[in-house]
C-alpha cells in the first residue's frame, strides 16, 4: 500500500483504563478478527501482569479501514510494553509509530506510568490523540480528566468513547486517519527497518517485529542487523492480524514480522536496524541503546538440587527477554546461585514470580541492590553490583550511587505523608505541580537504592493505593555510603550484607538483627546476632540456647505420629542454610526484603 494510506499508531494507557477493550473494538469494527478469536487475545497474557498492575502488551495488528473519505487505509497498531522498567523498549515501539492514542479512564485520571509514556511519545514526535474512555459510567468526569491531560499536552480536543458499548469507536478510527501523519520513508533508498520487538519460538527461532522505514523487504532477502553485524536469510515475512499472515514482502512504512532461522536472541536487539546485505543503508536508525541493568539481586534455589533447574529457567526466560542478565555466583550461606541484573524492580519481581510459578522452583532472593561506582586509593575505579564484593573500607576513596528522577502522582490529601516518606528515603524535591485541584505531581530526585528497598510498598500503603510512581535513572552522585554486615556467632553471613547511607545504617542494622532474633529458631548453643560496619559492631542481640524440646508422652499409640513429627523436623533442618554451625531458615533471608524504615 502507498504510504499515504498507512497509519502506524500505539495506545498509551494505564492498567484497567481500557486499552485491551478499545483495541478489541477497533479490531472488531474493522472486521480484522472474529469476536471469538478476540477473547483469546485478552486471555493470552500472564496473570502476573494483572496482579502487578501492568498493562497488557497487545500483539501488533494490521487493520484495513475504509474511512468516510471513501478511501481504504492500513492501520497498524503497535503496542508498547506495559511497564516502566522497559522504558527503552517502549521508546522503540513508539519510534515505530507516527501517532498514539492516549486512553484515560474518565473516572480516574492520569497515572505516573502513563505520564512517563506520554513524555516518551512527545520525545518521539508522535501526534497524541486523547481518548477519554468509560464515558458510559455514572462517575465519568471527562472534562476534569481532560484538564489533567491538558496540563501536559496543552489545549487539546478529545474523543469521548465507551470501549465497552462501542460508542465513539468510529470517531477514533477517523481521528487516526485524519490526525496521525502517514509514514514518509524513501521507497528508493536501501532498506532500513526498525526492530521493535522479538519473540522466541522453539521451532522457528526468533520472530522479529519490524517497521520498514525506507526501502522494502521480501522473503529470500539476505538481511543484516546493523548493530550486531549478524546476517540471515529471510525464510518468511508477513504481517500480523494479530496472527501471522504470510505475504512474502513488506513495503515502505509497513509493519510486520520476519523469520530467518535465527537461533540466538542475543543477535536481535530491540532498536537495531535491519538492512540488506550487499545493499546496505549508510547509517543505522538513531536511538539504539543497550539497556542497562539497574537492579541486582542473587537468586538461589531453596534446595541445592534445583540449581540446574534454576539455570535452565533463567536461560529459557532470557530467550524472550534479552534484558535479563545472570551469571553464576557462590554464597557462603546460600551455596550456588546466580547474580541477576534487571531493568528495574518490577522486572525483577516478574522474573522471580515467573521462575516460581512457571518453573516451580522455590527460591531465595537476596536483598535487591544497585550498581555503585567506587574509587579506590590507588586511583582504580570499580563497579560494585554485589555488596559481598565491596572492598575494604580502608582502600575506598569515594563511592557514587545512582540517583533516579522519580515522578509521583497522588491525591493532595496524601502529599504530606508521601513527602515524609521521600525525605526519609533521602529524596530531594525538585518541584511539584498541580494536575488538577485535587491531584498533584511530585518530582523528586531519589537515590535508587532507597527505591529498591520497600519504597513502593510504603508508597502504596501511605496513599491507600492512590499514589503512582515512575522513575528513571538520571545520574551518579557521591554519597556517604557504608556496607553493613550481619554476623551470626561471629561468622559473617554474606547474603545479609547490604550497602546503605551511613545515617540509615544503625537502624537498618538494628531492625535486621531484631528480625533475625525472631526468625532463627533457638539452637543447641547461644547465638549472638550482630550488625557491623567494618570491625565496628553497631547492634547486637542474642538468641538463647534451646533448653527444652521434648514430648512428654510416647506410648504404643503415639509412635507413628511422633516419628513423623521428628522426621519433619529433620527435613526442616536439612532445608535450612547453615553458616558456621548456625542453621538459618529460608524466611530469614526473605525477611530482609521487608525491613521497614524507622517510623
Amino acid at each position: 500500500m502507498d504510504q499515504k494510506h498507512i497509519r502506524n499508531f500505539s495506545i498509551i494507557a494505564h492498567i484497567d483504563h481500557g486499552k485491551s477493550t478499545l483495541a478489541d473494538r477497533l479490531l472488531e469494527v474493522t472486521g480484522t478478527i472474529d469476536k471469538r478469536d478476540m477473547k483469546k487475545q485478552i486471555l493470552d497474557t500472564m496473570e502476573l501482569e494483572q496482579e502487578r498492575g501492568i498493562t497488557i502488551k497487545l500483539q501488533p495488528a494490521r487493520m484495513m479501514y475504509t474511512a468516510k473519505d471513501g478511501e481504504q487505509y492500513m492501520l497498524n497498531l503497535i503496542d508498547t510494553p506495559g511497564h516502566v522498567d522497559f522504558t527503552y523498549e517502549v521508546s522503540r515501539s513508539l519510534a515505530a509509530c507516527e501517532g498514539a492514542l492516549l486512553v484515560v479512564d474518565a473516572t480516574q485520571g492520569i497515572e505516573a506510568q502513563t505520564l512517563a509514556n506520554i513524555y516518551l511519545a512527545i520525545e518521539n514526535d508522535l501526534t497524541i490523540i486523547p481518548v477519554i474512555n468509560k464515558i458510559d459510567l455514572p462517575a465519568a468526569e471527562p472534562e476534569k480528566v481532560m484538564k489533567e491531560v491538558e496540563t501536559i499536552l496543552g489545549p487539546s480536543d478529545y474523543i469521548p468513547v465507551s470501549a465497552k458499548t462501542g460508542e465513539g469507536i468510529f470517531s477514533v478510527l477517523e481521528a487516526i486517519v485524519n490526525f496521525v501523519p502517514h509514514p514518509k520513508g524513501d521507497e528508493k533508498k536501501p532498506l532500513k527497518a526498525l526492530v521493535f520487538d522479538s519473540y522466541f519460538d522453539s521451532y522457528r527461532g526468533v520472530e522479529v517485529m519490524i517497521r520498514v522505514v525506507d526501502g522494502s523487504i521480501r522473503a529470500g532477502d539476505k538481511i543484516k542487523f546493523m548493530q550486531t553485524n549478524s546476517e540471515y536469510e529471510i525464510t518468511e515475512i508477513g504481517y500480523l492480524k494479530p496472527n501471522q499472515i504470510k505475504t512474502g514482502f513488506l513495503n515502505t512504512g509497513e509493519v510486520g514480522y520476519l523469520i530467518g532461522n535465527i537461533k540466538n536472541i542475543e543477535n536481535v536487539k530491540i532498536g537495531d536496524t535491519v538492512t540488506l546485505s550487499g545493499d546496505e543503508a549508510d547509517e543505522a536508525l538513531p536511538g539504539y541503546k543497550v539497556p542497562q541493568s539497574m537492579v541486582f539481586c542473587g537468586l538461589y534455589p531453596a534446595s541445592c538440587d534445583d540449581y540446574e533447574d534454576l539455570r535452565e529457567a533463567l536461560q529459557k526466560l532470557k530467550l524472550n527477554d534479552s534484558s535479563l542478565r545472570f551469571e553464576p555466583e557462590t554464597s557462603k550461606a546460600l551455596g550456588f546461585g546466580f547474580r541477576c541484573g534487571f531493568l528495574g524492580l518490577l522486572h525483577m519481581e516478574i522474573i522471580k514470580e515467573r521462575i516460581e510459578r512457571e518453573f516451580n522452583i522455590d527460591m531465595i532472593a537476596t536483598s535487591p541492590g544497585v550498581v555503585y561506582n567506587v574509587t579506590l586509593t590507588n586511583g582504580e575505579k570499580i563497579v560494585i553490583d554485589n555488596p559481598a564484593n565491596y572492598p575494604d573500607r580502608g582502600i575506598v576513596v569515594s563511592i557514587e550511587e545512582p540517583i533516579a528522577k522519580a515522578n509521583i502522582i497522588l491525591p493532595n490529601e496524601f502529599v504530606g505523608a508521601i513527602m515524609d516518606l521521600c525525605n526519609k528515603k533521602r529524596g530531594k524535591l525538585d518541584h511539584m505541580e498541580y494536575l488538577t485541584e485535587e491531584r498533584i505531581m511530585l518530582h523528586y530526585r531519589l537515590p535508587l537504592n532507597e527505591i529498591v528497598v520497600d519504597f513502593f510498598g510504603q508508597l502504596k500503603s501511605l496513599s491507600k493505593g492512590y499514589a503512582s510512581l515512575d522513575y528513571e535513572l538520571s545520574s551518579y552522585e557521591e554519597a556517604d555510603l557504608v556496607k553493613v554486615d550481619i554476623l551470626l556467632k561471629s561468622d559473617l553471613v554474606d547474603a545479609f550484607s547490604f550497602i546503605c547511607h551511613k545515617d540509615h545504617a544503625y537502624y537498618r542494622g538494628r531492625a535486621i538483627v531484631k528480625k533475625l532474633r525472631e526468625l532463627i529458631p533457638r539452637q543447641m548453643f547461644e547465638i549472638p546476632v550482630q550488625a557491623s560496619i567494618g570491625s565496628k559492631i553497631i547492634s547486637r542481640e542474642t538468641i538463647k540456647a534451646l533448653r527444652k524440646n521434648v514430648l512428654a508422652k510416647c506410648y504404643g499409640g503415639d509412635i507413628s505420629r511422633k516419628r513423623k513429627l521428628l522426621e519433619k523436623q529433620k527435613e526442616g533442618k536439612k532445608r535450612m542454610k547453615s553458616v558456621g554451625s548456625v542453621d538459618i531458615p529460608d524466611e530469614a533471608f526473605m525477611s530482609i526484603l521487608s525491613i521497614e524504615d524507622e517510623k
Binding site: N549, A552, K553, G556, L566
Partner: protein, 347 residues
C-alpha cells in the same frame, strides 16, 4: 507371637480440657457390648501364647467392674512374673473394686492424680479429686505396686509448687509418671490458651530439673523421660514400647505393632462394637523402624546400642549424650532437648 497386650477402654465420666485421647463421655460404666467386642478381637488376633504384660489404659479403665475385667483377663494366658496394670481415676475407685481387681489378676495400678492442687486442676479443666489421699491409701493396702500419674508445667506453677506436690507422695508409692502439660491442637485447653503454653520453655526446663531432683530425694530413679520408679518397679509394659518390642493393642482406637506392621483400630466405639474393627494398617519401612527404635529407646536410661555413625553426635554434644557399656544414652540435660537431638540422629 506377642508378649505384650494393651486393652483400650475409651470411656470417661468427663473429658479433661487438655486430653486428646479418644474416649466417649460422659459414661459411668463400660457397656457389656464393648467388653464382648474386646473379647472377640482377642479371640481373633491373640494366639494364646504366654504374655508378660497386660495394660488396661484409657479413657478410664477403672470404669470396668471386676466381672468385666475378669472376662477379658480370663482369655489371656499370663507368663510367670507377669505384670497386669490398670489405670485408675481416683473418683472411680473404691476399696471393694480394688479388691475385685486384685482377685481377677491385676497386680499393678496406676492412679491418675495429675495434681494434688485442686486450683491447678481447675486451670486445666479437670474435675477436682475428692479424698484422693484416702484412695491412694486404699490402693496401697491392696497392692504392692502402686504408681501415681502427675502433671507439671501447669499454669502458674513454680519450683516450690513442685516440691509441695512431691511431698504428697506416700513412701509406699513405687512409681511416678510425671508429665509436662502438653497443649494438643484441637483440645479445649489449646483453644483456651490460644495455642500458647502457659509456661515458657525455659521455665519448663527449670521445673523438669526440679522434678528430677525432688523425686531422686525420695528414691525415685528416672528410667524414662517422664517416668520414675523405685528399684525394680519400672513399668514392664511401657518399657516394652520403649524398647521397641511388638505389642498387640485391643479395643477401639488401639494401635498394634507386630513384625513391622502397624495396625490402628477404628476410633469409634459403635463401629468397633459392630465388628468393623480395622482402621489403618501399614508396613513400616526399614528406615522408619530404625528411626522409631532410636526415638523410643533413647527415651529411656537404658538407651540404645551404640552405632559407629552416631559417634559424630556424641562428639558434638558431649553434655547431652553419653556412651556407657556400649549403649548411647541421653544425660538429664539431653533429655530436655530429646526431640531436637533425636530428629538430628534419625536416618
Amino acid at each position: 507371637m506377642v508378649s505384650h497386650i494393651y486393652v483400650h477402654i475409651p470411656y470417661c465420666t468427663n473429658k479433661c480440657d487438655y486430653c486428646d485421647f479418644y474416649s466417649e463421655y460422659p459414661k459411668q460404666t463400660v457397656e457389656d457390648a464393648y467388653v464382648k467386642a474386646v473379647i472377640s478381637e482377642l479371640k481373633e488376633r491373640y494366639g494364646g501364647e504366654l504374655v508378660a504384660t497386660v495394660f488396661f489404659g484409657g479413657g478410664t479403665p477403672s470404669l470396668l467392674n471386676g466381672e468385666q475385667l475378669k472376662s477379658i483377663l480370663s482369655k489371656i494366658n499370663l507368663a510367670k512374673n507377669h505384670e497386669v496394670t490398670i489405670e485408675c481415676n481416683p473418683e472411680t475407685i473404691t476399696l471393694e473394686k480394688l479388691r475385685d481387681y486384685k482377685a481377677v489378676g491385676v497386680n499393678r495400678i496406676s492412679i491418675g492424680v495429675q495434681s494434688f492442687d485442686d486450683g491447678k486442676l481447675r486451670l486445666i479443666g479437670r474435675t477436682r479429686n475428692i479424698n484422693v489421699m484416702d484412695k491412694i491409701e486404699q490402693a496401697i493396702t491392696v497392692f504392692d505396686n502402686v504408681g501415681i500419674d502427675l502433671m507439671y508445667a501447669l499454669p502458674t506453677q513454680n519450683n516450690e509448687d513442685i516440691v509441695k506436690e512431691i511431698s504428697y507422695l506416700l513412701p509406699e508409692v513405687k512409681h511416678v509418671s510425671y508429665y509436662a502439660l502438653t497443649l494438643e491442637e484441637g483440645t479445649r485447653l489449646f483453644n483456651k490458651m490460644e495455642g500458647e503454653h502457659p509456661i515458657n520453655d525455659d521455665l519448663q526446663a527449670d521445673l523438669t530439673e526440679e522434678v528430677v531432683r525432688e523425686l531422686a530425694v525420695q528414691d525415685f530413679e528416672r528410667y524414662e523421660i517422664s517416668n520414675f520408679a523405685k528399684d525394680g518397679y519400672e513399668c514392664q509394659h511401657n518399657m516394652a514400647y520403649w524398647m521397641y518390642q511388638d505389642y498387640l493393642g485391643i479395643g477401639a482406637g488401639a494401635v498394634s505393632t507386630i513384625q513391622g506392621v502397624r495396625t490402628e483400630n477404628v476410633k469409634d466405639i459403635r463401629t468397633y462394637t459392630k465388628g468393623d474393627r480395622k482402621g489403618n494398617e501399614y508396613k513400616l519401612t526399614a528406615d522408619e523402624q530404625a528411626n522409631e527404635k532410636l526415638m523410643m529407646q533413647l527415651r529411656t536410661t537404658k538407651g540404645m546400642l551404640f552405632e559407629e555413625r552416631l559417634s559424630q553426635y556424641t562428639e558434638k554434644y558431649p553434655d547431652l549424650l553419653c556412651v556407657k557399656d556400649g549403649r548411647i544414652i541421653f544425660t538429664n540435660k539431653g533429655f530436655l532437648v530429646h526431640d531436637t537431638i533425636v530428629s538430628e540422629l534419625m536416618l
